[in-house]
Amino acid sequence: MRIKRLSFLIFLLAFAMLLTACNSNETGSSSEGEGGKDSNYPERQIEVVVGFGAGGGSDNFARAVTKELQDILGVNINVVNMPGAAGIPSADYVARKPADGYTIWSMTSNHPVNIASGAEPNDMSVFKSIGRVQNDTMTLQVKSDGKFKDIDDLIAQAKEKPGEISVGGTGAKGFDELVLAQFEAATGTDFNYVSFDGSGEMTAALLGGHIDVIAEEPGPSVAQLQEGSIKMLIAFTDTKMEGFEDVPISTDLGIDVTDGQGRGFMVHKDTPPEIVEALEKALEEAKDRPDYKEYEKASYLHLRDGWLGSEEYDAELEKLIETYKKILEAN
């Protein structure tokens, strides 16, 4: 009997050790930057880390680009999903990996938002952009037979009843909410922001008449836009959108808000410059390939050219963080 109990205790102990092994983070010291002169990069499999679940917009994007990169770079590329907390854990994971270009982070505009709000400890001193591939367009959409005729009507009604018109967006303190805050500041209005987990539930809430407006890109609700049950009131961009030519754009209305959900790739800051360059070149080639173009068109992501190179995107992100910080402070 005693032996049995003892062996069980040993088993538990072994279990506990396994547990602690799980908790101790892999501390592959990140600043080593294995083997300085990687002229023949890449030599082995690359990992692309996505901070959102499989099947979502960001995941589809990463996979569509990865398919082309694989072909261009001639190595296998694995897409790994680490969903949760607006991408913060995935950034943490990439930041801890060696700075050798074999772990790439597929990021979105949530990153500058997270840095501005203070939720993201891995700021611009930790990552280096490879490039921005997409720049989606944010729009405000309402039910076609609802109470808003056009954007002027919406603004007028919002001024009449401040805080009463509800606007749905995905995420809390995320990109959608910040664009809405910019719109509010520019028009002197005040809306009631309602955060949703995903665009599906949000679109359903709009169709059911439970919320008044949604802040959304054209892609997720394109079925309703085509059918005519939902209409677009405004697009936050400075150029007319193909297929939505009659939708007013923000710059025409004197509203200087053109931020779109951007999607791109980053690596650790200490990655050798020649590797960043090689990746930047490969990425620029990938986004112009026909298969990728076709995916962009099918997902309604082709409406404006999103390409920014490594240096430009870094500069753009710095600028965005400053803007977002100001908005967050003002709120």
Binding site: F8, G55, N60, A86, P89, G163, S166, A204, Q226, E227
Partner: protein, 503 residues
């Protein structure tokens, strides 16, 4: 519509398409049967393969995997207390006790029969009522979601195996676990202690696998190894009498399952959990739930298959995914150049009807193929536990890791294994904890979303008819047992008084 269905049948009977359908069913069976591989994962894995096919074959493959993996998750849930897929979580509650009583074969038979029936009812509703149901689903918003989750939580009394206090502690613990991580309404970190890993919260899958599967392995290793030559499991489809006994539960649970599946953002796992609670609530002997009764297997199994079909309703008619897997299917449609939505029945009628007929077949074929499949699967039971036990732990680790590629989750899973072991030794029922973990986030998020939507006006829960009805049901289920107790108490007292007078 009849033309469309006949056309769909014609497409399906094309030898290549039929072959693809059967391949999908078998893949779904195997994937769902192996703990750690969920239907969602299989669909993702096969997505690139499907791009090379024409849309009809591609979607027959993906949807048949989707339909059948929901069923086969129950096999390891019943035999090893290890849910093969998240949807099989509630099947563990009664399936495993049945297997321990030597009724494993019967439990599997009930699972096959209920899954197939639930799936077929779900598909028939999907075929005939899609536009109607889609409109109905739209009348649900945050207040109704909250009321629904609250109603599910109030059933804790029936799930706490006779000990109400421990049941409430369990639910509270589950609800607490659900609050860890970034607050989804304001982004504020809660109980994260500065850890980046805890920010994304504790996923319910590691908790569930730990509490049930790992704790059971811990218990088994303490037993003497002699009882390895376990009973031989012979899958038997339910007898006529048993079928009649569970037909009510299956009917109710299927309808509830479809209905929950239709709601965007709530999937088959929640449907299984809620229909298990409801089956216990409406049962004449709720205290028997959790002890190994066929109703406890029939309810979640019919509901999860029905819900899987229900989740196709908003996908096909609105282009809005009702669950995680349908979100991936939506992506697949788009990459095939097809936009699901209000216009899909007109523009892609032939494809839609072929998919619907394919789903009907897939669910029917569960009845035919499951039995031989399980007989192969249950040979594993003859392997000594000293081999099986470590393999279960291994699969649990892989399965947990695969959900979010997180080693941290594996640690959480193992920790909950130890917690589950000690809780059960202390006769703590585990079902209420799972109830709290699964329904907690829905209840909290939807309550707060409702408050956001209606400017903190509490009265909306009572002025919106659907929400009011659900809340009244919840109230009744809390008050009724207490009331019944009081009545019984009075009766006994009256009788006692009479007796004293008589003597």
């Amino acid at each position: 519509m009849i033309d469309g269905l006949l056309g769909g049948l014609g497409n399906l009977l094309d030898p290549f398409n039929l072959l693809i359908l059967i391949a999908g069913i078998l893949l779904g069976f195997i994937g769902g049967g192996i703990p750690g591989i969920s239907g969602t994962m299989l669909v993702i894995i096969l997505l690139p393969v499907s791009y090379a096919m024409d849309p009809t074959a591609a979607f027959l493959l993906l949807t048949s995997i989707y339909a059948t993996s929901v069923f086969s998750g129950s096999i390891s849930a019943i035999l090893f207390r290890t849910p093969g897929t998240p949807e099989a979580v509630a099947t563990v509650f009664d399936g495993y006790p049945m297997a321990q009583k030597g009724e494993g074969g019967k439990a599997l038979g009930v699972s096959i029969f209920s899954s197939a029936t639930g799936g077929v009812i779900g598909t028939i509703v999907l075929i005939f009522l899609t536009p109607l149901l889609a409109t109905f689903a739209l009348s649900f918003a945050a207040p109704e979601y909250f009321a629904l989750a609250l109603m599910g939580l109030t059933v804790v009394a029936s799930l706490s195996a006779g000990n109400l206090v421990k049941g409430f502690i369990g639910v509270a613990f589950g609800l607490f676990i659900a609050t860890i991580g970034l607050d989804s309404m304001t982004g504020t970190p809660r109980f994260t202690f500065g850890s980046g890993q805890l920010m994304s919260g504790i996923d319910f899958i590691p908790v569930l696998i730990g509490l049930f599967a790992i704790s059971e392995v811990l218990r088994q290793v303490q037993k003497r190894p002699r009882q390895t030559s376990k009973q031989k499991v012979r899958t038997e489809l339910p007898s006529w009498g048993l079928m009649k006994r569970i037909s009510n539960v299956i009917g109710r649970s299927s309808l509830l399952g479809i209905f929950i599946g239709i709601l965007p953002g709530i999937g088959a796992t929640t449907a299984a959990m809620l229909s298990y609670s409801e089956a216990a609530r409406w049962s004449k002997k709720p205290e028997e739930f959790g002890t190994g009764i066929p109703e406890g297997v029939a309810a979640p199994e019919s509901a999860n298959n029905a819900a899987a079909m229900g989740a196709m309703v908003p996908l096909l008619s609105l282009g809005i995914p009702g669950s995680a897997t349908t979100a991936i299917l939506l992506g697949a449609f788009i990459l095939h150049g097809i936009q699901p939505g209000p216009l899909m029945f007109q523009t892609q009628g032939s494809l839609v009807y072929t998919i619907l007929i394919g789903l009907l077949f897939a669910n029917l074929l569960i009845l035919l193929i499951a039995k031989p499949f399980i007989s192969v699967f249950s040979k594993i039971l003859r392997v000594p536990y000293s081999v099986i036990g470590p393999l279960i732990v291994l699969f649990c680790i892989i399965g947990t890791f695969a959900v979010r590629n997180s080693i941290f989750d594996v640690g959480v899973m193992l920790l909950f294994g130890v917690i589950g072991y000690f809780l059960e030794n202390a006769k703590f029922p585990l079902a209420p904890i799972v109830l709290g973990v699964v329904l907690g986030p829905i209840a909290e998020d939807q309550f707060r979303r409702a408050m956001q939507m209606f400017n903190n006006d509490f009265t909306i829960f009572f002025t919106r008819p659907i929400s009011l009805v659900l809340l009244i049901l919840a109230l009744i289920s809390v008050v009724y047992p207490l009331f019944k107790k009081w009545i019984n108490h009075r009766k006994a007292k009256l009788r006692g008084d009479k007796n004293t007078i008589a003597s």
